[in-house]
Symmetry: C2
Subunit: 182 residues, 2 copies
């Protein structure tokens, strides 16, 4: 296939964007050739022509994907952080985000190196962003970035993901208060 053929470029874009929507809406397991082809409005053969296996397609979209939290800090930082944790908490109670998170966390019987390094990358990015924000906000913590993320995000994993409960604004404020000076 000629990668410069405009039709091929267009169908590739349509397929990638359909795969991204499935990934965000229903989690990695929903990204199948059949579902992607249907959503993109192309034949399955067209998907095959671009990616030999569904894993190659999944890898491509997962490798560019980052969890959409703690990006581009706004001010004042405490309120912005509250808004970010509020949105994270609310998303974790939705079936789509819950499925995506559990499939990220999931451990296979066989050690899956690709899944492990993807999980490390996705959570690692969140941790770097959080550490940068807390540093900007004047935090002088010497705790490792993953422990800070654990104390801010972990309680929401329990309350919203595992228990399906809404996190109150008071609860989120308590989490933040333990990490921001003043």
């Amino acid at each position: 296939m000629d990668a410069d053929d405009p039709r091929a470029v267009r169908s590739r874009e349509r397929i990638v964007s359909a795969a991204r929507e499935l990934l965000r809406g229903e989690g990695p397991a929903a990204v199948t050739f059949a579902a992607v082809a249907q959503r993109a409005g192309v034949g399955r053969a067209t998907v095959y022509r671009h990616w030999a296996t569904v894993d190659a397609l999944r890898d491509e979209i997962m490798d560019e994907f980052t969890l959409p939290f703690f990006e581009r800090p706004g001010r004042p930082l405490p309120q912005w952080l509250h808004g970010q944790l509020r949105r994270l908490a609310d998303e974790l109670t939705t079936p789509a985000a819950a499925r995506m998170t559990t499939s990220l966390i999931q451990r296979d019987a066989a050690d899956d190196g690709a899944l492990n390094s993807r999980r490390d990358r996705l959570f690692g990015v969140l941790e770097e962003r959080l550490a940068a924000v807390l540093h900007q906000a004047g935090s002088t913590t010497t705790r490792p970035a993953e422990e800070v993320a654990a104390s801010l995000i972990g309680p929401l994993l329990y309350l919203c993901l595992a228990r399906g409960r809404r996190a109150s604004d008071d609860f989120i404020r308590t989490l933040i208060a333990e990490h921001l000076p003043g």
Copy 2:
């Protein structure tokens, strides 16, 4: 089948105990008629004679199962609590406990009432035990039991389950210090 037949009683016990071992070791999905029959050393037909479906067998063993944490408080309470969280943290990094926890947390596309109420019961029991322990230790918190559990257990879900990292004793001490007076 005569429920009083000593051979039937014995085979039932062997099957239940094999199913419990599979549940604890590999999670609910590992409890299949074939695996249970093999581990119990009986034929599959024998398993069928006791339970019409594998779901009935799973339900029976899950309904008696509670998560083995925060039972029978020891003294001094802070050290005992540290030991409990230490063990929880370490187990969450093992593949078997990780699989069991994610399959508990997992949300199906279809709302699964039985799974939801089982999850509520299992986590609810943990929360009641934790609340009782903190009360005994002199905590006067007015926060709901699920929020207290979220702040103690949640960070370990993130660090040990999602990230596969070991929780340091210092990290566990910090978690406890936020909840115990003195």
